[in-house]
Amino acid sequence: MNEGHDRIEELLAGYVLLGLSGEDAVEADRLLSEHVPSCPRCRDAMAGFQAVAGDLALAVSPAQPPDLLLPRIRRGVAETPVRRRRRASVVAVAAGVAALVGLAGLSISLGDRVSRTEQQRGRLLAAMEALQQQGTSPVSLQSQGQTAAGLVEVSGPGLERMYVIGRDVPMPSAGRVYQLWLGSNGTFVRVEDGAFVPDDGLVLLELTVDAGRYDEILVTEERIGDAPASPSHLGHTWHAFLAQAA
C-alpha cells in the first residue's frame, strides 16, 4: 500500500511542478479524478505539494514591473464587465434540491457546508421555490468518458433560471476552470457566469438564463480567466440535449 502511495505521490509532486508529460500526465489526471478525492492521504499530500509549489515562487527575487503594465491591466479591467459573482452559490442551493434532481447522497455530502453559506439562505429558499414549479425538469449530463461524476441541469418554462448540480466532480486540470456552454442548432455560446470549480466535488450553480432558447448544454475545461468563443473540448467534458421549448 505504501509503495502504491509513494508512486502516486511521485506523480503528484511532478504534477504540481508542471513536470509531467506523456503517460505520467494521463495517469496523474486519472488519479486526480478517481483516487485522490476519496483518499485522505493523497489529498493531504496534494495540498501540501501545492502549497510548496506556490511558495517556491518566492525563491526568485522580486522585480518591479514596467510602469506601463498597470495602466494596461486597468484597461483590461475596464473592458471586462463586472459580472454578478456567484461563487458562493456553488454550495447555496442545498439539500432539498437533491431529491428533485435524483443525485443520491448530495444532501449528505453537503453536510455542514450549508451552514458556511448562511448569507445565501435567502437565495436558497427562492431557488428551491422556483425549482418546485410545475414543468421544471432535470436533465442528466453525460460525461464524455473520463469520469463517472454526474451533473444535472434543472430548468423550466418561465423560470429564467438554470441550475447545474453535481457531486464527486473532479477538479479541473491545473490552471483551468469548468465552463458552461449552451447550444442551439449546433452552435454553442459561452454562459457569462458559467465558469466554476467544484467545492470538494460539489457543484451547485444558479444562472440567469432562459434555457428554453437552447437545445444542448455542454461543460468543458477552459483556462482560468480566458473568455473563449468556442468550447475547447479538452479535459473533462459533459453534454446533454435539452428538451425543446414548447
Partner: protein, 188 residues
C-alpha cells in the same frame, strides 16, 4: 492564519464583488513577486509582462477560481502565474536561447538582485524561509526542482538533460518536495 493572509482574503472578497481598488491592492502586493517569477521562467521582459498581465486579468475575470478553503491566496496566485509562465515558455521554446536560460537558472537563488523593490515585509520574510529550505536540499534534489519549476522542463526532459533515468528524476523530486514541505510547514 497570518494577518497578511487575512488581508489577502479580504481583498479577494472585495475583488469578487467587482472592487477595483481591492484589485489594485492585490496588484501592489503581488506584482513584484509575480513579475520576478515570470521573468525568471520566461527569461524575457515582454513575455513576463504578458504572463503577469494575463494572470491579473484572469484573477479579475474569475476570482471564484480561488477557494479560500484550499490555502493562502498567495499560493494560489503565484501558482497561477507560474502555470502561465511555464505554458508561455514551452510555447516560445524555439525562441529561447539556451545559453541565456542557463545563465538565468544559474543565478543564485540566495543572491538578491532586486532587493530595492518595495515588497510587503511578510513576503520578504517568507522569501528567506523558502530560500533557506531550498538551500538545505541535497544539490541533486534541488537541481531537479529548479529545472522543473524555474526552467519549465518536463521530468522526461530533465532526465535527458542530466543524463539520468526518468525514475531517478521522479524519486529526487518526491524526496525534495517532501523535505520542502516539512521545512516550510514545520511538519514532523
Amino acid at each position: 492564519m497570518q494577518e497578511d493572509d487575512r488581508l489577502d482574503l479580504e481583498l479577494h472578497r472585495r475583488v469578487s464583488v467587482g472592487d477595483r481598488q481591492a484589485f489594485e491592492g492585490l496588484y501592489r502586493r503581488y506584482a513584484p513577486a509575480a513579475y520576478g517569477l515570470a521573468l525568471r521562467v520566461t527569461g524575457q521582459d515582454s513575455l513576463a509582462q504578458e504572463v503577469v498581465h494575463d494572470a491579473f486579468l484572469a484573477l479579475w475575470r474569475a476570482p471564484e477560481a480561488y477557494d479560500p478553503g484550499r490555502g493562502p491566496f498567495r499560493s494560489f496566485f503565484l501558482s497561477l502565474v507560474h502555470h502561465r509562465a511555464v505554458d508561455t515558455v514551452r510555447r516560445e521554446e524555439r525562441l529561447r536561447r539556451r545559453a541565456e536560460r542557463a545563465s538565468n537558472l544559474e543565478r543564485g537563488l540566495g543572491e538578491d538582485v532586486a532587493e530595492e523593490v518595495v515588497e510587503d515585509a511578510y513576503l520578504s520574510t517568507r522569501r528567506k524561509e523558502v530560500r533557506e529550505a531550498l538551500r538545505t536540499l541535497p544539490p541533486d534534489q534541488r537541481r531537479v526542482v529548479e529545472l522543473a519549476y524555474f526552467g519549465g522542463y518536463t521530468q522526461a526532459r530533465i532526465a535527458q538533460e542530466l543524463g539520468i533515468p526518468l525514475g531517478t528524476v521522479k524519486t529526487r523530486t518526491l524526496a525534495a518536495m517532501r523535505k520542502l514541505r516539512r521545512a516550510l510547514y514545520r511538519e514532523d
